[in-house]
Amino acid sequence: MLKDITLGRYFPGDSVVHRLDPRTKILLTIAYMIIIFVVDELWLFAPIAAFMYLAVLAAQIPIRYILHSLRPLRWILLLMFVLNIFMVKEGKPLVDWWIIYITDEAILRALFIIARLVLLIAGTSLMTLTTTPIALTDAIESLMKPLKLVKFPVHELAMMMTIALRFIPTLLDETDRIMKAQLARGADFETGGLIKRAKSMIPILIPLFISAFKRADELAYAMDSRCYHGGIGRTRMKVMKYSSIDIYAALTMVIFCAGILLIR
């Protein structure tokens, strides 16, 4: 049932992209996002899409995984498309019938928005597919270190994210188990009106909260008994290190961005 949800969606592998330092991946993804927002002509998305495609090939991830990550957003994409087609009034009219008024400019702009969003999501999901959530939070902590100067609790935030991510699969398993158990007692989650359905969630939510609180308590004790006292003076088991592939990847990205900016 719930096991089919692929949250965090890490796709295990040992490709060049997987081996990149997570910090590099975050920075490259940010660069990629910036370039997508800088581009202001539709045809320029073609080289970006090609670049993206090559990156997916290098990561050895089946393209359907990337497409799958677009699925939850299909309605939003459709809505954006439709809104743009009808709201934009500039340009040469193509259809002008009753209340429907569509211009060539409108279609171009709708396509532009869709291309931008699709490439944006594809890029970020390539990052999450090739990086474990824990590596990502480590990288975020490392990249946000300068914020410590303004007393921002970087380590605490990263620890909270790590714990939250760590417990997503555990709590999903738990929910799955409780749901099955209540189903076996004849609980019905699928029929009835809104109120009845909301009420039918109680037998799941109460045991789930109880176990989540219990786990939180146990985790706190476990951390305490291992003398955890926050970020100061704490060393890491896995030390992140930039290697030559990070330099190559960064160079490729710089050349690519420069290229796009030049043609523009």
């Binding site: 089919d4 796709f11 076996a184 037998p203």
Partner: protein, 283 residues
Amino acid sequence: MAIELKNVCHTYMEGTAFEHGALENINLTIHENEFVGIIGHTGSGKSTLATHMNGIIQPNSGKVFVDGIDMSDKRKRKEGRAKVGMVFQYPEHQLFEETVEKDIAFGVKNMGLSEADVDERVREAFYLVGLEYEKFAEKSPFELSGGEKRRAALAGIIAMRPKYLVLDEPMAGLDPSGRKEIMQTIMKLKDALGCAVIMISHSMDDVLKASSRIIVMNKGKIVMDDTPREIFLHSEKLLEINLGLPQGLVLANELRSRGIDIPKDAFLMDELFEILCERLGLC
């Protein structure tokens, strides 16, 4: 009338990077009034097999029938599910109501019975699992001890009066006296309700004591399906798949290796005790 599994296969997370098989071509019939023990390693597919028996998860291929009801049929499934009581691992985690009585009544109420019937069945369930109604009915289930919580959870299933009772590791995480009590409760239930019991366990001793039939699972397949006596006479097969042996069998083997003549089919503790007494001339 029986639970029948026909060519059942199940794969978790099919079509993703995390795909793994859990059941491979299972054919199995469980008759009324049987006491079936299912043993196997963690990950051998025994829990997955049990969950198929009331249609909570559906096979990727193959069919499950409960008393002839096809469990893949969405409309009839509920009727079949009512016949199969399912007690999951650590069932006390599913308690949620304000009082023990309300929690035990949850399943029965979902069956749509009259209030008088519900009350009668709930009281009966209290009695069968050995909880005093007067003492526990109004308590919060979260105030109970570990063993009492498990009984309360068990009672919630019993109250539905299933024809087949599936128990997944009912003794896991209890202390020895708690284990013994639950085991006795299960035996008592079987007699009182006249239901079939399907019990998953990795404790050989528990399975040996209670079962009339034992199914051994390994890597998603049924490797042995026979009476306890036959299974343990072929104990070398169990050792092959790294399953432990019951204490009595270990003791019998040990005695034999020290030159004491023990009959080949004696491995229950009581049997061994008698044989040894006889040898020593104590009785």
